[in-house]
C-alpha cells in the first residue's frame, strides 16, 4: 500500500496546478450565451497548452495521461475552481467512444474539433418514455440509400442548442430484441428537422433541453461501431461518464463541505455559532467521514482498474454514494441557514434544489443499486 504520489505524479500535479493558477480566467459571466463563450475560450486555452483530452492517446491529440494522472487532473481542476470546458460531453464521452468504436476515418474526422471546442457535442440517449430503461428507446431510424431518416424525441439533452453533433441512440431494427436493434449515430444538429426546446428545471434554469426530431437525415457513414451495435457503444459512453466523473465529484463534495463548515462557523444560531451545536457538529463530522470514503473509494477503484483492467466493486458505488453525500450536505446547509432557508436568493437554497437531481441524473440510485446487486453481489435478476 502506498497512498502517496510518485515523483512523476507530483510533477504532473505541480505543473498543472501552476498552470491553472497562472491562467485561471476568473469568474464565469452570468447568462447562457456569455457563459458558453467563456467556456469555449477556456477550452481553447486548455487545448493550446495541451490540457484538453488528457486521457486521450497522444496520436489523437490527447496527453496520454495515466489513470492516476487523469484522477489528479480532475481533482486539480475542481480544486482550482476552474471553469468547465465547453465541450465537456465530447471530451469525456464522445471522444473516448469514437476512439474505442470508431473507424480510423471517423477518428480523423471528429476528434480534433472536439479538443479545440470547434464542434460541440451533446447526448441524445434518454426519451420521455425511456429513462432508466435505455434499451427501450423508440426514436426510429430508417435507411434510404446512403442515408438514415430519423424521427423521435429526446430529453435531458445538455448543450443541445450549442451542439454540432449529437450522440444519438436510435432503433434501426424493430424486429430484433430490444438491445440488439439499436444503432449509435452522430447526428448533425444543424438541420431544420431537429428542434431544440429548453427544459426549465425546478431551480428555474434550463441546463437541459428537449429534442424534437422530425425526419432528420444522417449519412450512413455516421454510424459508430456498426449497425445494430448501438447498445454496446452506448454502454462505453456511459462507462466513461461514470468513471471520469468519480474524481471530480469527490473533490467537489470536499469543497462544498469546506464551504458548509465555514457557513456553520459564521452563522449564529441560538446565541452561538451553529458549528458549536452538538447535533450539527455530529452531522458535519459524518459528512467529513463520508467525503473521505468517496475519496478513498475513488482511489481504490483506480487501483483495481490498474490491477485487473476493470473497476472493482467500489467503482459502482461512487456515483450513488456521492449523490447521498451531496444531498445530505445541502439538507444540512438548509438547517444551518434557519429562517434564511426560506429565501430563494441564498446560494445554498439553489444548491439544495439542484442536488435533488443528483440521485436521478447519470443513472438513478435505484438502477445503480440494481447493478450492484446483480453484477457485484450476484443476486438473481429482478426480471
Amino acid at each position: 500500500m502506498d497512498l502517496t504520489l510518485s515523483p512523476s505524479e507530483l510533477a504532473f500535479r505541480d505543473e498543472l496546478r501552476a498552470w491553472l493558477l497562472a491562467n485561471h480566467p476568473g469568474r464565469e459571466p452570468v447568462g447562457d450565451e456569455a457563459a458558453f463563450a467563456f467556456r469555449r475560450d477556456w477550452q481553447r486555452q486548455l487545448h493550446a497548452a495541451g490540457w484538453a483530452g488528457v486521457s486521450w492517446p497522444t496520436k489523437y491529440g490527447g496527453r496520454g495521461a495515466t489513470l492516476i494522472e487523469q484522477a489528479i487532473y480532475n481533482e486539480e481542476v475542481v480544486r482550482a475552481k476552474a471553469p468547465q470546458a465547453a465541450n465537456v460531453l465530447g471530451l469525456a464521452m464522445g471522444g473516448p467512444t469514437v476512439i474505442a468504436h470508431g473507424t480510423e476515418e471517423q477518428r480523423r474526422r471528429y476528434l480534433q474539433p472536439i479538443l479545440s471546442a470547434e464542434e460541440i457535442w451533446c447526448q441524445g440517449f434518454s426519451e420521455p418514455d425511456s429513462g432508466s430503461d435505455l434499451a427501450s428507446v423508440k426514436t426510429r431510424a430508417t435507411r434510404h440509400g446512403d442515408e438514415w431518416v430519423v424521427t423521435g424525441q429526446k430529453v435531458w439533452t445538455t448543450f443541445a442548442h450549442h451542439a454540432k453533433w449529437c450522440m444519438l441512440v436510435a432503433r434501426t431494427d424493430s424486429d430484433a430484441p430490444k438491445h440488439k436493434g439499436l444503432s449509435y449515430f452522430l447526428m448533425d444538429m444543424d438541420q431544420e428537422a431537429v428542434q431544440v426546446r429548453p427544459l426549465v428545471q425546478i431551480t428555474g434554469e434550463a441546463e437541459f433541453n428537449e429534442l424534437f426530431i422530425e425526419e432528420a437525415r444522417i449519412p450512413h457513414e455516421n454510424i459508430i461501431g456498426g449497425e445494430g451495435n448501438g447498445w454496446a457503444v452506448a454502454i462505453t459512453t456511459l462507462m466513461h461518464e461514470r468513471a471520469t466523473l468519480a474524481f471530480g465529484l469527490q473533490v467537489s463534495a470536499q469543497i462544498a463541505l469546506n464551504e458548509l463548515i465555514e457557513k456553520a462557523r459564521s452563522t449564529r444560531a441560538n446565541g452561538q455559532p451553529a458549528s458549536e451545536d452538538p447535533v450539527i457538529r455530529q452531522r458535519l463530522a459524518q459528512l467529513l467521514i463520508e467525503a473521505e470514503v468517496l475519496r478513498l473509494n475513488a482511489y481504490r477503484g483506480l487501483t483495481a482498474i490498474m490491477r485487473d483492467g476493470v473497476p472493482g466493486p467500489e467503482g459502482s458505488l461512487g456515483k450513488w454514494h456521492w449523490s447521498e453525500v451531496s444531498q445530505s450536505l445541502t439538507e444540512l446547509a438548509m438547517e444551518i441557514a434557519g429562517p434564511r432557508a426560506m429565501l430563494a436568493e441564498d446560494e445554498w437554497t439553489y444548491r439544495f434544489l439542484r442536488a435533488r437531481a443528483n440521485s436521478i441524473e447519470g443513472g438513478t440510485t435505484e438502477i445503480l443499486k440494481n447493478i450492484v446487486a446483480e453484477r457485484v453481489l450476484g443476486l438473481p435478476r429482478m426480471r
Binding site: 500500500m1 502506498d2 497512498l3 458535519l284 467529513l288 467521514i289 470514503v293 454514494h321 443499486k369 443476486l379
Partner: protein, 359 residues
C-alpha cells in the same frame, strides 16, 4: 499511488484467512461462546506460533516489528471468522507497553507478550465513570491503586493489566497481585468475555507519561477494532446474499425483490466504505502519523455504525430464522454492536473528527 497490499501483506491475509476458517468453523465459535474460558491453550499457542502475538513488538524486543497495516489485515480476518480469542485484548495492552512502557516494564513483559507466554488486557472503563473513554477518574495513592473497572475484555486470561487512570495516566498491574479480583460479567457478545476488575490497594507501576505515543497506540487499537468490524460485517453480508439467493417465497428467490436486493447493495456500500477507511487509517499510522488521529477516528466512527447496520440488515434479510439462537447470525450482530461501543463509540469518534477537522 496504490491501494493494494504488498506481497507480504497479501501472504499474511491469505494465511490468516485459511488458518482461521479452518480452525474456527461455526460449530467451534458456538462452542467457545458457550464456554466460560472461551478459548483453548492449543488455539492460543497456534496464534503465537504464527507470530501474531509479537506482531507489534519491535524485533529487538522479541517481536516481528510489523506495522498497523499488518495488524489491520489480521484483525479483519479474525472478525470474518468471528474467532473467540483474547488476541485483540493482549495486542492492545502490548501496544500501550510498546508506546510508553518503562525500561523495566518492557524488559519484563514485552518478550513474554510477544512469544505468547503472557497475555495482557486494558482496563479502561470506570464503574460509575464518564461515558468517554479518555476520562477515567481513577487516581493512584502513592504506589498503590484502588479502583473498579468494568467491561474489561479477557481479564481472566490476562497476566498483566494496563489500567487507565485520570489525566491520561496508565498503570501496569499484575493479575497475580493479591489485591486483584476478577469477576465474570455477562457480555453482550459471548465470543469476547468481559469482566469486572476490582483493584484493592494493588501495586501500581506507572507507564511513562507519553501522551503522543499513548495516543498513537490508542489510534492503532481503534483502527484494529474497526478492521475487525469490517470482517464481521463482510461475513454477515455474505450470509445475507447467499440466503437471499436461495430462499424462495412467492415462487422466486427473495433476492430478486428489490426491497431485499437493494438492502444487500446498501450493505456493500457500508462494508466497502468501512474497509477503505480502516485500510487508510492503518496506512496513515505507519506512514503519515499527522493524519492518523483523524483517520483512526473516522474509521472507528464509520465502522461502528456500519457494523451494526449491516449485521442487523442481514438479520432482516434472513427473516425469522435469523432471530433464532440456532442460527449463527446473532453472534455477528452481537460482536458488531459490542465493538461499536469499545474504545469510543461512533458519537465520540465523530466528535474527535469534528475537532481534528477544525469544525
Amino acid at each position: 499511488m496504490n491501494f493494494d497490499f504488498n506481497d507480504d501483506q497479501r501472504a499474511i491475509k491469505r494465511t490468516a484467512h485459511d488458518f482461521l476458517t479452518a480452525r474456527y468453523p461455526a460449530a467451534t465459535v458456538r462452542a467457545l461462546a458457550g464456554d466460560d474460558r472461551g478459548f483453548t491453550d492449543e488455539q492460543w499457542n497456534e496464534l503465537a506460533e504464527l507470530g501474531w502475538t509479537g506482531l507489534v513488538v519491535p524485533e529487538a524486543e522479541g517481536g516481528l516489528g510489523l506495522g498497523a497495516v499488518e495488524l489491520v489485515v489480521i484483525q479483519e480476518e479474525l472478525g470474518y471468522a468471528l474467532a473467540p480469542t483474547p488476541f485483540f485484548s493482549s495486542v492492545a495492552a502490548t501496544l500501550l507497553l510498546v508506546a510508553a512502557g518503562t525500561e523495566a516494564q518492557r524488559e519484563r513483559w514485552l518478550g513474554p507478550l510477544a512469544s505468547g507466554e503472557a497475555r495482557g488486557t486494558i482496563a479502561l472503563w470506570d464503574e460509575h465513570g464518564a461515558w468517554s473513554p479518555d476520562q477515567s477518574e481513577v487516581e493512584a495513592s502513592g504506589d498503590t491503586l484502588t479502583a473498579t473497572k468494568i467491561a474489561v475484555a479477557d481479564a481472566a486470561a490476562a497476566d498483566v493489566l494496563i489500567v487507565a487512570a485520570a489525566d491520561g495516566r496508565h498503570y501496569l498491574v499484575e493479575a497475580a497481585d493479591p489485591g486483584v479480583r476478577i469477576e465474570p460479567e455477562r457480555s453482550l457478545d459471548p465470543t469476547r468475555k468481559l469482566f469486572k476488575v476490582a483493584l484493592d490497594g494493588v501495586a501500581a507501576d506507572s507507564l511513562a507519561l507519553e501522551p503522543a505515543r499513548i495516543a498513537h497506540a490508542y489510534q492503532t487499537i481503534v483502527t484494529a477494532l474497526a478492521a475487525e468490524i469490517v470482517g464481521v460485517a463482510q461475513h454477515a453480508m455474505e450470509m445475507a446474499v447467499s440466503y437471499a439467493g436461495d430462499r424462495k417465497q412467492f415462487d422466486r428467490p427473495i433476492g430478486a425483490y428489490q426491497a431485499v436486493s437493494h438492502r444487500c447493495s446498501q450493505m456493500l456500500l457500508e462494508v466497502e466504505g468501512a474497509r477503505s477507511l480502516a485500510y487508510w487509517a492503518g496506512w496513515a499510522l505507519d506512514h503519515e502519523p499527522d493524519a492518523a488521529a483523524r483517520a483512526a477516528s473516522m474509521a472507528k466512527a464509520y465502522a461502528s455504525d456500519a457494523g451494526f447496520r449491516v449485521t442487523a440488515s442481514a438479520m432482516q434479510v434472513h427473516g425469522g430464522i435469523g432471530f433464532t439462537w440456532e442460527h449463527d447470525l446473532h453472534f455477528f450482530l452481537k460482536r458488531a454492536e459490542a465493538n461499536a461501543h469499545a474504545f469510543g463509540d461512533a458519537r465520540w469518534h465523530r466528535d474527535r473528527v469534528a475537532e481534528l477537522s477544525g469544525v
